[in-house]
Amino acid sequence: MYVYQEHDQQLLNERVAQYRDQTRRYLAGELSEDEFLALRLQNGLYIQRYAPMLRIAVPYGLLSSRQLRRLAHISRTYDKGFAHVSTRQNVQMNWPALEDVPDILAELADVQMHAIQTSGNCIRNTTTDEYAGVNPKEIEDPRPWCEIIRQWSTFNPEFAYLPRKFKIAVNAVPDEDPAIIGVHDIGVQLVHNDAGETGFQVWAGGGLGRTPMTGAVIGEFVPWQHLLSYLESILRVYNKYGNRDNKYKARIKILVKALGADKYRELVEEEFAELKDGPMTLTEAEVARIQACFTDVEYRSDVDTSELDALLADNKAFNRWYHTNTRPHKQAGYRAVTLTLKKTGRVPGDISDEQLDAVADLADKYSFGEIRNSHQQNMVFSDVAASDLFALWQELDALGFATPNLGLLTDMVCCPGGDLCALANAKSIPVAESIQRRFDDMDYLHDLGKIDLNISGCMNACGHHHIGHIGILGVDKKGKEFYQVTLGGRGDRESKVGEKMGPSFESDEITDVIEKIIGLYVEKRLENEPFIDTYERIGMDPFKEHIYG
């Protein structure tokens, strides 16, 4: 992974000092609420329903075991012993004291971590495929490009007061969208041209939230040297022309839609003509320097896989876990293992301080000391030797991270919702738990196959409900919690926004509704047909009729 040089560390140290002083001035009454709001948000600090929430940046989801242990320490010392993996691959703490945040930042800076731009109207954490670098389907490791974007976006002076938040994602897998770039403000698709040169197809204007939509291709092929100049051009157009009167119309998607992709492209090209070949042009030396940071894993060429087949044949539980929670790897003899943070009875994406420590130990033992957060709120050990899988499975099982439900109905994405979040219209965690309890038969879940169920407590869509095959959105009706259901969203092969099924449901109805939807799917599906394919084949009407009819 990227290891800080002296200047990277210096920057973080200066940031801690700056934020410490900002906090001091706020507490001394020298900064108004509104002035401090913008400053603390750019540092990931929200004031929530019961306490502040601090969102800590995990660049493209990648963590070292040392960093994970520091998160454990912080959650133990400054919080209630829990951390939460977010859909931007970040980590959230739900109970820090505002006064402690400067000390927390100092603790983070000590392990090359921070909370810079994890909120606010600025460029947020760049995300990518959680299997980046080991995914056999990718054409190139996207992480070096994420790191290059991270550095360009960190404290970028021109883009700290944008009309609205701004999210960039990078994907290197053709014909799939594991980083859901289609629903990002900017989506960057790595491509190779006929000459084999690296470039980027650049999308803009996608996003979830109140007005969900997929983006449009703005740059068909941007040569790698010009990635940053091109991104800067898109951002400058947005900074100048994005709506600033109405925050619900302020995202880039609204601007791209209003102008049309062709006009937006024209404006970008105008800026780009000026920046292209200028000092921002990336150099081969810089790209090589960053790429070298991501090739430091020393795989063994002598992994003994001879026992694995016998173990898989003998042990049904291990076999199920292997086929559900582990994935093929670029390197022969290795698998990528997902730790599912979705055991029934636990808040999706939550992990305790002790578990963080335990996961760090396991990462050291089995996966070169690295961990990734996924946007589906799970964790990944990307580099596990096949000969270690059985032992790792046993240890994960003891920790509760081997529930074999990756990609299944109970592997839900779920925001913190009304239990914690001040923005939420409705609770989401109890809904997730109720559904998990209803669908508690693992054989049945496997029979149902892959179903993405995403839950957001409000239209800000932190739970990505629009791109769930089944989406649940909490809404408020005269002070009462209701839930709206969408069907047909996708965040897998492609990014696609789901369709509203109809009127919303009360909280005690929603689990029954999900059961009925699943019931109809089971009745209508063809052999081996996944839920989303059945939906796309038969359409919304039969579901509507079945639920409301």
Binding site: H7, L11, L39, N121, P157, E158, Y161, N239, R244, E274
Partner: protein, 162 residues
């Protein structure tokens, strides 16, 4: 006379920024910064005076002044609210696209916590909001010694800095 930060030093503010309604009675003597619309209406006479500058509100872009920049020693960019970040791009354009060498001044809701970014985008003068300490604000120009990106003062990004 108030104070202003120019090129890192706190000095007397010689310029007065005027809103449109203050100009209804005519243009006062002395160094004044007038709205873009007023400048455009009275361009020919104002050009000859030499002590008239222009301020841009959000939505008014440097390109609207492109032909006049050689006659101006100062362009102010006004921030009615610090959260409206359009002015950052405007300052940058003034410096890089239009190669404007005169003073670029931030006026309005100008606070110390934005000064470092403003300076990097090409502002060299700051009218700090009157209820805030200008001495503390000027110190914030030294908040950071490291920059990942190039900027108006040094176009080299980190990978081109020696």
């Amino acid at each position: 006379m108030g104070k202003v930060i120019i090129d890192g030093a706190i000095v007397d503010n010689e310029w007065a920024r005027l809103e449109a309604d203050a100009l209804e009675a005519g243009l006062p003597d002395g160094k004044v910064i007038v709205p873009l619309a007023y400048w455009q209406e009275n361009r020919d006479t104002l050009m000859t005076r030499g002590d008239v500058a222009v301020w841009l509100a959000p939505g008014e872009e440097p390109k609207d002044l492109a032909d006049d920049l050689s006659a101006l020693s100062l362009v102010a960019i006004h921030f009615p609210a610090f959260k409206d970040g359009r002015g950052y791009s405007y300052a940058r354009e003034l410096r890089t696209r239009f190669a404007f060498k005169g003073e670029v001044r931030a006026t309005g809701d100008v606070l110390r916590d934005q000064l470092f970014y403003l300076a990097r985008c090409g502002f060299n003068a700051f009218e700090v909001r009157e209820d805030r300490s200008i001495e503390e604000a000027v110190a914030s120009l030294k908040d950071f010694t490291v920059r990942y990106q190039g900027d108006v003062n040094d176009p080299r990004p980190i990978y081109r800095q020696a």
